[in-house]
């Protein structure tokens, strides 16, 4: 563990900022007037007026402590938790009948979840999201790396190991694609070294998003102006490259105008555990396994067979046909003969 109290006591602000770019935010958040960065904090603080300190209810002695605490929190927040496997221990269906199931999913695997509408697909994703421990309506339990998670761990992991993508999500920040990716990169950077790698990561993300999207966009497009398909493509690429979360839950991203199979392959390749609730045969068969839900319970778990992989090829052809038909119409063409498109 880094001793921030020592660092802050001994080093100039300049050198602290150079190593931990996030450190500047501490002063921005407190609205502190510019300090002499050539001095260590305690010394630089003699320039701050008592009035200013009073305003924020702070004392000179307290600020270095708060600053150290801030750096401890901001650097600890970033530490990613690696997840090798996720296990779903069955609970009960809507009638209370037991599921009798144990499904272990390893990193880099894609699982699809299928079933009629209202059957409980989103519920299963919700159980995983909150790392259920027999305390949700389904009674399911989720294990990480074969171990159950105690209450404290669960609160600590909240929001950190599960990323979500759904049809309803939109970008709301008033930023360009480049600024958006920079901001996300900045929020996950621990030290300066990582901030340095950010531009490479940003480019990777951008290029990948563009290859998934039907229509290309540029780095200076506002994220709020992206089309549905472009937004989805950027969200997926961002999830794959930027998000530290080891588990990705996707609730219905079909018909979004993105190359769905490539998108899922990308997530799996980033060694994440991917679960997709879907009504789309391409996504369902593209997964390694699929979970069939009926009446709130896991009814079957099917491995995608070699025959099914062949069928997938046929379905892809139909999908491509539909895609081309859509494009022909969009470009003002006619479809007089299906064979021509």
């Amino acid at each position: 563990m880094i001793d921030f109290d020592v660092i802050i006591g001994a080093r100039t602000l300049e050198s602290v900022f150079a190593e931990y770019p996030v450190a500047r935010d501490f002063f921005l958040n407190l609205n502190l007037p510019p300090l002499d960065e050539k001095k260590p904090l305690a010394e630089a603080l003699f320039d701050a007026t008592d009035d200013w300190l009073l305003e924020f209810g702070l004392t000179r002695a307290e600020i270095p402590e708060l600053f150290a605490e801030f750096l401890r929190t901001m650097t600890a927040t970033q530490a990613a938790r690696r997840v090798g496997s996720l296990t779903i221990l069955g609970g009960r269906d809507k009638d209370g009948a037991p599921e009798n199931i144990e499904l272990r999913v390893e990193a880099g695997t894609v699982i699809s979840i299928v079933g009629p509408t209202g059957s409980g697909k989103s519920r299963l994703l919700a159980d995983i999201e909150c790392l259920a421990q027999g305390d949700t309506p389904t009674g399911r339990r989720i294990l990480i790396d074969d171990a159950s998670i105690d209450e404290e761990e669960r609160f600590r992991l909240e929001g950190k190991i599960v990323a979500q993508l759904s049809q309803n999500m939109n970008f709301v920040m008033d930023l360009t694609v480049a600024e958006f990716l920079e901001m996300h990169a900045r929020s996950r950077a621990v030290g300066a070294a990582e901030s340095g790698d950010a531009s490479e990561l940003i480019n990777l993300c951008f290029e990948c998003a563009n290859s998934l999207a039907g229509e290309k966009f540029t780095l200076d497009t506002k994220v709020t102006q992206l089309s549905g398909g472009q937004s989805r493509a950027l969200m997926i690429a961002d999830c794959a490259y930027m998000s530290r979360s080891a588990i990705v839950l996707i609730d219905e991203i079909e018909n979004a105008g993105v190359d769905r199979r490539e998108a899922i392959a990308l997530l799996a390749q980033s060694e994440k555990i991917v679960l997709i609730s879907t009504h789309d045969p391409l996504l369902a068969l593209g997964a390694d396994k699929r979970v069939v839900i009926k009446n709130g319970g896991i009814f079957k778990i099917l491995e995608t067979s070699p025959e099914e992989k062949r069928s997938l090829g046929e379905i892809e052809k139909i999908d491509r046909l539909l895609y081309n038909a859509r494009r022909t119409l969009r470009e003002g063409g006619r479809i007089d003969n299906v064979g021509d498109i």
Partner: protein, 226 residues
């Protein structure tokens, strides 16, 4: 009886979260709602069968009004035999906060409100034990992550919980924290976690006319450049 203070900007989802929380724990919950001029929340609590009292602060800062009335709220809760008393208040001035030392405090913020909002909200968020982030269902994962990071910047020690005010997803995790709250029989002699403003000016006491001649008490003048 346990007590929780819930604060957050208007429309951040406080009432929704409290309603979902009530649905997820099997305890008798009652609410004291502090508002400014009008409140539309009473009907929603009534519909859910949750006992509610509404206090309108009118010409007072709602947070000051809160401090003046919160003890009355506690006595009401005890008379109602509540398991959990929740106060809901919209920190309208952003300078004050209703959080009390020793009482579990929750700040509700909405992920649509902009990533820098948590850093601007002030004591209401800074001194909360739990920060509930709502509306995560409609923003991208990346924005959720940046938002949580921004909350951490403003309050590094709070537990951040994501709760969907519509579906209730995540509310039961908040419920677990509520169950850990301390039992109280009175809050006499407890303290606010942050001072209310040190100053009172003429406008605090009802003055409406503009001009130097009418200004009294403590005030601060802006310095304009040029």
């Amino acid at each position: 009886m346990k007590m929780i203070t819930v604060a957050g900007p208007p429309s951040s989802g406080k009432t929704s979260v409290i309603l979902r929380l009530a649905g997820s724990i099997k305890l008798k919950i009652g609410v004291v709602k502090f508002d400014c001029l009008t409140s539309f929340d009473k009907a929603r609590y009534d519909d859910a069968g949750i006992p509610v009292q509404v206090g309108l602060s009118g010409k007072f800062c709602p947070d000051h009004f809160f401090v003046n009335n919160v003890e009355g709220g506690v006595s009401w809760g005890l008379r109602q035999d509540l398991d959990v008393l929740i106060t809901e208040s919209a920190g309208l001035c952003n300078r004050c906060s209703p959080h009390i030392t020793g009482i579990t405090s929750v700040c509700v913020v909405d992920s649509l409100s902009g990533v820098h909002t948590p850093r601007k909200i002030g004591p209401m968020l800074k001194f909360a034990d739990i920060v509930v982030v709502t509306k995560g269902d409609i923003v991208s994962q990346a924005e959720r992550e940046v938002f949580a990071w921004s909350v951490k910047q403003a309050n590094g020690s709070a537990q951040i919980l994501s709760v969907n005010g519509i579906t209730g997803q995540g509310a039961f995790m908040l419920g677990k924290k509520v169950l850990e709250a301390r039992d109280i029989t009175s809050i006499e002699d407890t303290r606010l976690r942050f001072t209310t403003p040190a100053a009172a000016c003429a406008y605090c006491t009802g003055e409406t006319r503009i001009g130097e001649a009418y200004q009294m008490g403590m005030m601060r003048k802006m310095e304009f450049d040029g």
